[in-house]
Amino acid sequence: MTAEFVAAAVVLAASTVALPAKAETVLRVAMTAGDIPDWTGQPDQGFEGYRFVGWSLYDALINWDLSRSDVEAGLTPGLAVKWGIDPANNKRWVFELRKDVKFHDDCKLDADLVVWNIQRLIDDKTPGFNPVQYSRHRSRSINVERAEKIDDGKVAIYTKTPDSFLPYNVSVWYMISKCAMEKANFDNALYAKAPAGTGPYKFDKVVPRERLELTKNADYWNPKRVPKHDRLVLIPMPEATTRAAALLAGQVDFIEAPSPDTIPRLKSSGMRVITLPYPHNWHYQLNFVEPPFNDVRVRRAANHALNRAEMVEMLGGIAQEGYATYPPNAKLYGNPVKYEYDPAKATALLKEAGCHPCAITFAISTSGSGQMQPLPMNELVKAQLEAVGFKVKLDVMDWNTLLDVSFKGREKYPQYNGINISRATQDPPNGLLRFVMKQQWSPNGGNWGWYENQEIEDIVAEAMRTFDDEIRDILMTKVHEIASREAIMLFVTHDLNPRALSPRVHGFVQAQSWFQDLTPITIVEGGK
């Protein structure tokens, strides 16, 4: 007995020596979001919610290829391996589903589940219809009529009008587990306790307003994107200095949008700061119904009033001067009007429009997803506009309040002549169409200030009927040029997307996209 005990102890000791306990590798990310984004399907907190929560827990039928930093990110097969327009019906898209994909709760991906996922965001009679997510997703779903099962492996999505842009809208339409929703009796609050997607991370736990913890999905259907770390912790941290301090103190490993003035300090402490042009636009959407921005001369005057070089200097060079909706490296950029800094011309235009001094009010936020450094940037814009004859009032509010102003539109908030919400521009619906189409007038879509232009409507209608990508790109470039000529926004800058990484973080590839892939990241203790 004693001998057996000794032998067992020796074996146990030997095994302990031979197999030391492997520490869990954890990636802790400080987001700019003011709260944990909704993790039950379509996220909130701006597009940052999609970046960190959406793409971690879920997949769409079509995903984004975020594996390279040398080209603009494009679409790639997700839960659908193939898709295309029905040659016999230009309002019917057919998606061929990936086989043998399972959700985190072992629910199987099939056509019925995909149809339910489409319907639950467009049809209030579908079980699990979520009015909040419906509203959040409306600018993407507005032209979708219905979905139907063709067979177990195929689904058709019908659009109200021919819509060649549908794949872009489908790319942010996340598939959630119907089994998990059924288990929760289609109660979203119950589902939130055990959500299930097909994404590279699984839900583990949430501490409200503090952190969302996800764990690696070792069985992810795409072996290239199985996370190289065990746990992902997402922490909302809206204040830039706090994020920098948290990184310096070792509380987080990866921060979004450090303020330009903290970058030298971060670098001197051994942090890696990455910047890369990406489809982003920091601008003001304008109110086209109420004066003075219903007059194109006033819009042009505002654009000529801005000294963008000075703005970039203030931002420590981590931005590009913005003269149009798309940044210059975008394929749809074309040849837009360049509103050079010309204060004399701006003043003359204001006088010509009979608006001098020209009183305007902008709704702005103190922080937010992609908002860069909103307070000093808005202060500089105000100073530059006032130098030419505008009289600017800045109405400062919390990020989520500003999002509410954005969703509800100018009709609900006529006191504002513009809103300052930066936008991702990685695809035409998000980057351009939602700002110019009448169909997108708020509160139905993203055309906050009700811009309307028949020339654009005609070109967009033609583009939506055009399923040849090259021809459609030419049409969209034309729309971009007209939008610039019409000064549909007060264009300011395009962000260079700075983020700072601890020396522990290796393997991150910054994609030219609003979205990013965290799965290749490895955590090396004491790493340099």
Binding site: D261, T262, R265, S365, Q373, E379
Partner: protein
Amino acid sequence: MTDATLRVEFAAQPAAIRVRGYWGTVGRRLRYDYVTLFFLAVILMIVFAAIAAPLIAPFDPNKTSMAFRLKPIGFRDFRLGTDELGRDMLSRLIWGGRMSLLMGLVPVVVATAIGGTLGVIAGFVGGKLNMLIMRTMDIFYAFPSVLLAIAISGMMGGGMYNGLIALSMVFIPPLCRIAETATTQVRHLDFVEAARASGASSGSIILHHVVGNVLAPVLIYASSLISVSVLLSAGLSFLGLGVEPPTPDWGLMLSTLRQAIYVQPLVCALPGAAIFITSLSFNLVSDGLRHAMDVRI
């Protein structure tokens, strides 16, 4: 005893038997309270600087210059450096004093007038009216002052006027409570009863007999709230719920400058130092006043 001797003895009576009035005693105590006098002088300097801001500020507080952003203290003519938009810090601090004093004083004055009046009425009338007023005040008491100020400002939106209203609402309940307690203590005293017996109206009794006795504790408490108001308004501005940018305001300056804390830490600390000194000065002067006006000493 001759007349001359009498005159000498009369003249030799000690001066100490002269009775000093209440305000004379307060003045004498303050005269020898050097700490209070020093901080009173600091407040007067801040007030003077705020009033004379257009004359003494060396630069336009809103004039931006990217070439001169975040310069250190003592850089060329920028004696206290420049901020993140290249604006002169000294000028912004001087102009910012206006906003801080305004946000410090106005809510307290408004709250003293409203809260004091409600408290005196509640204390004097008593009964159901007292219950109605004081229980309403208790509802506001249920929330911490910072939270209440943020909630009211958040609900009404940012801006100076909304900030003033929010802070006034925060200070009304405590001032009402002080006034009500003091009024309850005096309303049954003999001189009030005597006035009532002589046929004086309630209004007249309140005005001539109650207010005079209630004023001292209310004013002492109100003076201590000025520093709180300065701090709260700075906090609201820091959170973006205060004045509209780019109005020079110490709280707002602190909020935007914290981004540059690793570049110019001393410059970033200046608005905080201004808030601290102003708040400390009001606090210590309030303490000195309380001591000087205390009838029990």
